[in-house]
Amino acid sequence: MIQSILVALSSLGSGGIFLFTQGLPNLVMLIVGGVLLWLAVKKEVEPLLLVPIGFGCLLVNIPLGEMMDKGGILRFFYDVGIITEIFPLLIFVGIGAMTDFGPLFENPKILLLGAAGQFGIFLTLILALVLGFTELEAVSIGIIGACDGPTAIYVTTQYAPQLLGAVSVAAYSYMALVPIIQPPIMRLLTTEKERTIRMPMAQHGVSKTTRILFPIVVTMVTGLIAPKGLPLMGMIMLGNFLKESGVVARLSGASENEIANIVTLFLGLAIGGTMEGHAFLKAQTLAIFGLGFLAICLDTATGIMFGKLMCFLSGGKINPLIGAAGISAYPMAARVAQTQGQKYVKRNFLLMHAMAANTGGQIGSVMAAAMMLSILTGMGLV
């Protein structure tokens, strides 16, 4: 009897014993998980994502909990939603339903800034190759520069699932840090004269037909050019069509609220589940964070340089600051452009134009990913 009680007792606390004997990486990751939760709760840094990611990170790093082993709940979320790529795609439907392309219709040429803001993806890809990552890993790292969490998750799941934790945490962290990362680059690359360029508030209005046809046309054009990216663009445009059609308010509402919220919870937990200490704590992870940071800096820089080009070609009518909003971090990047513009001219309202560049950046980032998916398939690498 006493023997069986002792045996039963010996099974308790085994997680703690493991943690303090062989679990140093887990201990470090428990601290990382705690930091993520602190950032989310105290600093309100991307709380919708960092709370489930941080908690998932805690869960998976408590030894012998087997949350990510076969049959574990985190493993289940991972297998059901990430391996199948369903979670990021469902999030895209919600993003589409939340996005208003209205500002873009006022000046469609600004869409080009959304393309320029993706250049960092490709430069980072080359740098990752130089650092010794494989082709498919380099593509997954470069895509951090899309500044678009679901796109990064979708591409990484396909090409380098072993990097999923690092890539997605880097993507979401840097998205949240856009207001800190971008302003110094904006100041460095623009002259004071350029920063003070006023852009008039154009409000010509757009017909409902145009708004309804836009997602269909974008889906068709991009789908025909880069078919492998159709799941990404198709879902974002489906969400936007639900919203603009005006006849399925319940579906549109569900996409941007209930579905997006539920999927975000499971997606975050599953990503946190990939952050197990022994697998996550590698020099490679640090390199991914460094390259991801560089990707976003390069995106910002190329967006601004393209903005300067458009400024020159338009005879000084375009403020290059809005070029920095040509990334996908919506609507943070647009707000940064507005804030920076108003630092120099109080009554300079760049927000609508920056929003146009920002929504262009959303389309641009998905298009860049679609291009990569199609090119790699064409090259026979996948």
């Binding site: 393309a115 757009v206 050019i225």
Partner: protein, 55 residues
């Protein structure tokens, strides 16, 4: 294919393709705006045509 060739090829085709696609989309969007002007704008232009016809 070596890594350098791969990186440069993906960059040229990927970035070029993204730029061209978004340029195409901007053209299509401008065309949509022209074909389907907002109600006030179309009402104004119809009114103008009507007035011109009366004269």
């Amino acid at each position: 294919m070596d890594k350098w060739t791969f990186g440069v090829s993906v960059t040229i085709v990927g970035m070029g393709g993204t730029l061209v696609t978004l340029w195409l989309l901007s053209l299509v969007t401008m065309a949509l705006k022209k074909i389907f002007p907002p109600p006030e704008a179309s009402a104004v232009s119809k009114g103008a045509t009507k007035a011109g016809g009366t004269k």
